[in-house]
């Protein structure tokens, strides 16, 4: 009996249904969690990350920094 024969007799159909239900539940949980009121502020803060991504040292301190200190 080949692989498909074995799989055919394994009764795996039910896994697809269970999988679908699990996905629906997890998805609902994520949606609920994201849209809770208490997370509004935190979320708005996270949304600003792209705008805060470029802070060269010399702009911040007014002096250029020593290159040797640079770590990558």
């Amino acid at each position: 009996m080949g692989l498909s024969g074995i799989m055919g007799k394994a009764g795996l159909e039910v896994y697809a249904e269970v999988g679908l239900v699990i996905f629906l539940i997890v998805f609902a949980a994520v949606v609920w969690n994201t849209f809770r009121k208490s997370r509004k502020g935190e979320m708005e803060e996270a949304g600003r990350i792209p705008l805060d991504d470029f802070v060269p040292v010399h702009d911040r301190t007014g002096t250029s920094s020593d290159d040797d200190e640079v770590t990558s």
């Binding site: 055919g8 994201t34 979320m43 949304g47 792209p50 010399h58 920094s65």
Partner: protein, 747 residues
């Protein structure tokens, strides 16, 4: 504060490289697109060379557009934005360079092999096995570099754009590996381990999700970074963007209800799958609205800034294509649209409108920054590009929508006597030639815009400083310690003593787990992987591995060795780009082509050749329909037998000799894949020579030329066999109990 402030620099050199490659390959992809569009309107543009026929160039166009143009654009987007969102230089510069040069080498090898007819013939996965291996290696290098960067990041929260990139990297790896399981039969030839229905299923699982995870999620990541940057304001709703992400990851994989309809799934699960598909409208439009509303109060900027103009039109096309996708998956719509240009129009509104315009917006925004000029060389040229591109897209898609619907309706039209109104297929082709010319015009405009962009960026590059300034950035390091904010005490617990189980429930109810989870890159990645892989497996297992889903037909036998060789010629020439091998169970199709196709007829087809577009008629029932001589004349010059045919001539098949030496190894590989080849395992070459000689004699008897050992003989052998087995009596003594009639399909 005990956390240490670290100093580092971003690597923009790699971004400059990918931007350059994007523009170069974009121009190549679009040029090839214009050429093949011209070939359909004006067949002489096939040039009579084997390397430049539509069947060989069309895969070059699609692969170049997806993997070279969009691919390099994605990498440019990721390398620039990830470093800034994670506040870290890329993990390893050598890996970045290996990724860049490896990817370009893959593109070059694709550009060389596809015109040579070296192909797996599976759409958007045509590249042969050595290139597949190279893609896997380069992708892994990219993944190590990317996840390494996440690991050393200095921003605790992982911004949603990075989530989209993670989903892309993980899912594309899974799709690529599982869709490219083959056994090589030589350096430039392999056979898919899957056959027929299963191969088709696997290939379109790949195709469907490649659109989702190569052309959608990375571009959404791009949108969620570059749009706020260009507009200088945060995205309208960050929470909506999270919903957008998870609904795409969870739902997209389930969105093809056609993947579920034919499985052993019960009715309710199938229905739920359809609900998911329609649900996809919501997050997609949520994403579009989220993008567009980011510009609220900034619309005056849009009028002045070509970058924002490209983004606005790009996002609008995202909305249009994601509305149309689910629409096309509704069966009654699909019955009209499938195999017509409607699909082509849909794809191009997505590719030109969404992928192209988001790329151009990003490139125009990046150019003055990565080349460190204060401004783009010319804003006016960018404006001109915007209008050229927009009008080009409109010409293209309006004409091709019209062509698709026109041809679809003509195929299914009956006259008052109940016969096909257009029995001659070529009538439905000549009808849409004017629209093909409009497409050439629209495509040329879009291509011209691409050249304007390349020129503009080139001139910006010329204005670059002698040495690039590489500013030093500083950011506090993230402590190893996860601290109280990582294991937060539930608010409820603070109120008083709690039992451990109650504590756990409160912990769960307050969803602190999710907050931690969002910050833990590796847990997050594992979950994305699990959700994609598991959903795929659940979806695939029922149709894929369970034998009872493909009814067997006793009379269907493996191809003779010469026919197999002929089939490989069919594959190499890319015949599937214009001809389907799938007669659907509609009266309009059975009237035109013959008996509808049964799943059991394809069990020896490694790979399947169902096709996705009928530029020419379906060929599944071509076997025995015409004489050998008809095929000889048709292949030599199609217009000799079908006036107004747009098919290119295949003169080289009359010059090239059959390579008998490769036949035995190919048959052996097929046998290894479980095709019951019997005596051919030892004598494939002799059998092929005998059959070739027989067909040669038959052609001479029909008054034709002597074509001894020419490729055309093998191709004719294959075409004459196609779709005929179902009408034969099953071989004796195979123990089968099925009846020998045409309807001998058992479940």
């Amino acid at each position: 504060m005990s956390t240490q402030v670290e100093k580092f620099r971003y690597d923009d050199d790699i971004v400059r490289k990918f931007v350059g490659a994007t523009l170069l390959w974009g121009a190549v992809a679009m040029l090839v697109g214009v050429i093949i569009a011209l070939q359909l309107a004006f067949p002489a543009a096939n040039l009579g060379l084997p390397y430049t026929t539509f069947g060989r160039l069309r895969p070059l166009h699609t692969n170049a557009a997806i993997f070279a143009f969009a691919g390099n654009a994605i990498f440019a987007a990721i390398y620039y934005s990830s470093q800034r969102l994670l506040k870290a230089r890329m993990f390893n510069d050598k890996l970045s360079k290996a990724h860049f040069w490896g990817w370009q080498a893959i593109i070059v090898s694709a550009a060389l092999t596809l015109p040579l007819g070296i192909t797996q013939s599976r759409e958007y996965a045509e590249l042969e096995w050595p290139i597949d291996l190279a893609i896997a290696v380069v992708w892994v290098l990219f993944a190590i570099n990317f996840f390494g960067t996440i690991a050393k990041r200095r921003e605790r929260h992982i911004y949603v754009a990075i989530w989209f990139y993670i989903a892309t990297i993980i899912t594309v790896a899974i799709l690529h590996i599982f869709n490219n399981i083959w056994i090589p039969a030589g350096l430039t030839k392999s056979y898919s381990v899957y056959a027929g229905v299963q191969d088709a299923f696997m290939q379109w699982w790949y195709g469907h999700n490649a659109v989702a995870f190569f052309l959608t999620t990375p571009f959404l990541g791009l949108m969620y970074y570059y749009l706020p940057k260009a507009a200088n304001r945060p995205v309208f709703s960050y929470r909506l963007s999270i919903l957008h992400f998870w609904s795409l990851v969870f739902i997209y994989i389930w969105a093809g209800p056609h993947h579920l309809h034919y499985t052993a799934l019960p009715e309710w699960a199938s229905t739920l799958g359809m609900v998911f598909s329609v649900m996809l409208w919501m997050p997609s439009w949520g994403g579009m609205i989220n993008g567009l509303l980011t510009l609220r109060g900034a619309w005056n900027k849009v009028a002045r800034d070509p970058v924002l103009k490209f983004f606005v039109v790009g996002i609008t096309f995202y909305g249009m294509s994601t509305f149309e996708g689910p629409l096309l998956s509704i069966k009654s719509v699909n019955s009209l649209s499938h195999y017509t240009d409607w699909t082509i129009a849909h794809v191009h509104s997505g590719a030109l409108g969404w992928n192209g315009f988001m790329t151009f917006g990003m490139v125009y925004w990046l150019a003055p920054r990565i080349f460190q000029t204060k401004e783009l060389y010319s804003k006016k040229l960018a404006e001109a590009h915007f209008w050229l591109g927009t009008i080009g897209i409109l010409f293209y898609i309006v004409a091709i929508y019209a062509a698709g619907v026109t041809q679809g309706l003509m195929w299914r039209a009956f006259d008052e006597s109940g016969r096909l109104a257009y029995p001659n297929f070529v009538e439905t082709v000549t009808e849409i030639i004017p629209m093909y010319w409009v497409r050439v015009g629209g495509g040329l405009m879009y291509f011209a815009g691409m050249l304007v962009a390349a020129f503009n960026v080139f001139m910006t590059w010329k204005n670059r400083p002698e040495t690039y300034d590489v500013p030093v950035i500083e950011a506090p390091a993230l402590g190893e310690d996860t601290g109280p904010e990582h294991a937060p005490e539930p608010e409820l617990a603070k109120a008083g003593g709690m039992l451990p189980s109650a504590y756990k429930i409160a912990y769960f109810a307050e969803a602190k787990w999710h907050r931690i989870w969002e910050r833990k890159a590796f847990k997050f990645t594992v979950w994305v992987t699990v959700s994609v892989a598991v959903a795929s497996l659940f979806e695939i297992i029922p149709t894929f591995l369970i034998k009872s889903n493909v009814p067997t037909i006793a009379s269907v036998q493996p191809y003779e060795p010469l026919e197999l060789y002929g089939r490989d010629i069919y594959i190499a020439e890319g015949c599937y780009n214009c001809h389907s091998q799938m007669v659907r169970p509609f009266r309009a199709e059975t009237e035109r082509y013959g008996e509808y196709s049964k799943p059991g007829e394809f069990v020896y087809d490694h790979p399947f050749q169902w096709g996705s577009r009928r530029i020419g008629p379906d060929l599944h029932r071509i076997g025995g329909k015409y004489s050998h001589m008809w095929h000889v004349r048709h292949m030599r010059n199609p217009r000799e037998v079908v006036d107004m045919s747009i098919m290119p001539p295949y003169a080289h098949m009359f010059d090239d000799d059959i390579d008998y030496g490769v036949i035995q190894p190919r048959v052996d590989v097929m046998a290894m894949l479980g095709v019951p080849y019997g005596e051919a395992i030892n004598s494939a070459e002799d059998m092929a020579r005998q059959q070739a000689e027989q067909i040669r004699q038959e052609i001479i008897a029909e008054g034709g030329p002597d074509l001894k050992n020419k490729d055309i003989i093998a191709l004719i052998a294959y075409l004459q066999r196609l779709g005929t087995d179902i009408f034969k009596a099953p071989p004796e003594g195979d123990g089968s109990t099925e009846s020998p009639t045409a309807a001998a399909v058992t479940h």
